[in-house]
């Protein structure tokens, strides 16, 4: 570390709750070069699905994300961590252009999907390829089947028959680890499922359009520990099929499911690296303060 003045310690983190960090000062403390190298293209042999390049987003004049550069790679889970309000959700929602729903949001920088600027794609097309699971399970008030088939039906030029949809629905539910529980009751109302099942249904619904990237915004924060465990196992399995970006304020969760970890603070990317590197040998002092002591 070549820090001129040590930063004040960040309040100790209860990993199950979003910490409130009230410290306007920030500094990557000379770790910038190492982190810049880690996020640069070609720093890994895995295929890059998405690349966030020098992205800044502000709500009106209030910046929420500042000059973030990040790769999203195939076969990996990228965990976004950081205190509440640091811009994780904003960053995540910009990846499928949901930030556009907020009139005041202004973005600069670029985001590409397989090399194509996402703003050059149709928003509807982009959102099928980069699908999203929200913090609160939000199944539609329809049957389980209709929920999972929703994206496929919206995508199809002609309304597909139920028998054509059935195998796709089944596959998505199997991928989401829900088939064994609901396979016999596909016509049951989705809203009657338990919270954890609802969230897995939302994952199945997001997987049904065969996306290339799956975005998850604190998918377990509304769930009980058992459901959380099931979903974490699911994420670990799914990474083979789809690149995953998961926002979490739970450091243990980031440690369990992440391959790469990005630590954000006040809208900036403070740290990026493999999960071992970020948790065991953080480069930035801010990261040390944030993750230090949580493990071992």
């Amino acid at each position: 570390m070549n820090s001129p003045t040590p930063l004040p310690p960040i309040k100790r983190i209860d990993p199950s709750r979003a910490p409130k960090v009230v410290d306007p000062r920030h500094d990557t403390l000379g770790a910038a070069d190492a982190i810049a190298a880690a996020v640069a293209p070609g720093s890994s042999n895995r295929v890059e699905r998405m690349r966030i390049d020098d992205l800044s987003i502000a709500y009106g004049t209030k910046p929420a994300v500042r000059n973030v550069t990040l790769p999203v790679r195939e076969g990996e889970v990228l965990a976004l961590i950081g205190p509440s309000g640091c811009g994780k959700t904003t960053l995540l929602r910009s990846l499928n252009r949901l930030t556009e729903l907020t009139d005041t949001a202004v973005a600069t920088g670029s985001i590409t999907l397989n090399g194509d600027d996402i703003h050059a794609l149709e928003a509807t097309d982009l959102r099928r390829r980069v699908s999203m699971v929200f913090q609160q399970p939000n199944p539609f008030p329809m049957s389980i089947f209709d929920n999972v088939a929703y994206a496929i039906r919206e995508q199809a030029a002609r309304r597909p028959s139920k028998s054509a949809l059935a195998p796709l629905v089944r596959e998505a539910l199997e991928d989401a680890g829900l088939w064994d529980e609901v396979g016999d009751n596909l016509d049951h109302p989705a809203l009657r499922l338990s919270g954890g099942q609802q969230q897995r249904l939302c994952i199945a619904r997001a997987l049904a359009s065969k996306p290339e990237v799956l975005l998850m915004d604190e998918p377990c924060s509304a769930l009980d520990p058992k459901s959380t465990e099931i979903i974490e196992e699911l994420i670990t399995r799914l990474r083979e099929k789809v690149a995953i970006v998961i926002v979490t304020h739970n450091l243990q969760q980031a440690h369990r499911v992440g391959d790469n970890v990005a630590f954000m603070y006040l809208g900036e990317l403070v740290e990026y690296g493999t999960v071992e590197q970020v948790f065991n040998a953080p480069r930035a002092e801010r990261t040390q303060n944030y993750v230090g002591g949580v493990f071992g």
Partner: protein, 326 residues
């Protein structure tokens, strides 16, 4: 003890509420029985043919009104088909148009209108919903009826049916237009409230699955507001069925059944539903058989509104299954 006194006052409140609602029930039942009792002679004399077709219903009403003084010779013969048909036609057509128009309007107001428009339109709609029906009737009879009579119905058309019915402008078309105008605001208000109550998470979830704004609107938002659309249709239909004064003013008030086979002329033909018939003949109630005939029409209206709310409840039931809310 405060707790037991709270419990006691709660019990008391429960009991008085129970008593109150039983009282309301008793009153409604008594009213139905009273109307049915009064109406009975008319129904029993005609049997099912009371609803049937035959002769001129206005002539029949006149004959009943002019019944001889001797109760044994009272005339009861009536075939109310043209009136039943007018009631059903007006209600079904205006509610059908109303559902489409009010759903589209509510979607626009809630989802697409710029905020400045929203701020103005919502209170205006509520205000319109509260306008008394006589006002609609006045506008109809002062503006729309003369306009239709003078400009839309040519002499050729008037002459073509001159031996059947007179075309004055007061007509099925005008009645449907005014009736639809009258029932649409309340429907818009009910549906818009339901659309506003659809959770944002559903909309965002659908957008995030690659549906465009219009598709999200139809497949998620309007879909989950279907019970409210049904409720709005039931309320509108109840208003339409029971609307007497306005329809007496603009429908032409003739016991005639407009014939769709007449082509465009169909729209310009007059008619008169049950409620307007009651309004038009209220002064004749003192003539016993005539009063009983009018009561019979009231009984039909009562039965129809009961059926409406029952039908609405039944129609909403399958939607509830999937957690669609009202």
């Amino acid at each position: 003890m405060p707790q037991s006194s709270a419990a006691r006052s709660e019990r008391r409140a429960e009991r008085s509420l129970g008593a109150l609602s039983s009282l309301v029930l008793v009153l409604i039942t008594a009213m139905c029985l009273f109307v049915l009792l009064k109406a009975w002679p008319s129904f029993s004399h005609n049997g099912p043919m009371w609803f049937g077709w035959g002769g001129n219903v206005d002539d029949q009403l006149a004959a009943i009104f002019n019944s001889p003084a001797n109760p044994a010779k009272w005339d009861y013969t009536i075939r109310t088909w043209p009136i039943l048909y007018a009631t059903a036609l007006l209600t079904i057509v205006s509610v059908a148009i109303g559902i489409v128009v009010s759903t589209l309007a509510a979607v626009f107001i809630v989802e697409f209108a710029p905020p400045s428009v929203k701020r103005v339109v919502s209170p205006v709609v509520r205000l319109l919903a509260a306008v008394p029906s006589v006002i609609y009737g006045l506008i109809g009879i002062l503006v729309l009826v003369p306009f239709v009579g003078n400009h839309l119905i040519g002499d050729g058309r008037k002459n073509s049916v001159t031996f059947v019915v007179q075309l004055s402008g007061a007509s099925l078309g005008v009645a449907v237009v005014i009736l639809t105008l009258m029932i649409t605001p309340i429907m818009i208000a009910i549906i818009a409230d339901a659309l506003r109550a659809v959770p944002n998470g559903w909309k965002e979830g659908a957008l995030a699955l690659g549906a465009n704004r219009w598709r999200v609107m139809w497949t998620v938002v309007v879909r989950s507001a279907r019970p409210a659309i049904i409720a709005a249709a039931v309320i509108a239909a109840a208003r339409a069925i029971g609307e007497g004064i306005m329809l007496a003013m603009v429908s032409g008030s003739v016991g005639f059944a407009p014939n769709p086979l007449d082509g465009i002329t169909f729209v310009f033909e007059p008619l008169r539903p049950y409620a307007a018939t009651i309004v038009d003949n209220a002064e004749g109630l003192s003539v016993k058989p005539f009063g009983q005939t009018i009561y019979a029409m009231a009984a039909v209206l009562l039965f129809a509104s009961l059926m409406l709310s029952l039908g609405g409840t039944l129609a909403k039931r399958p939607l509830r299954k999937y957690g669609v809310r009202l």
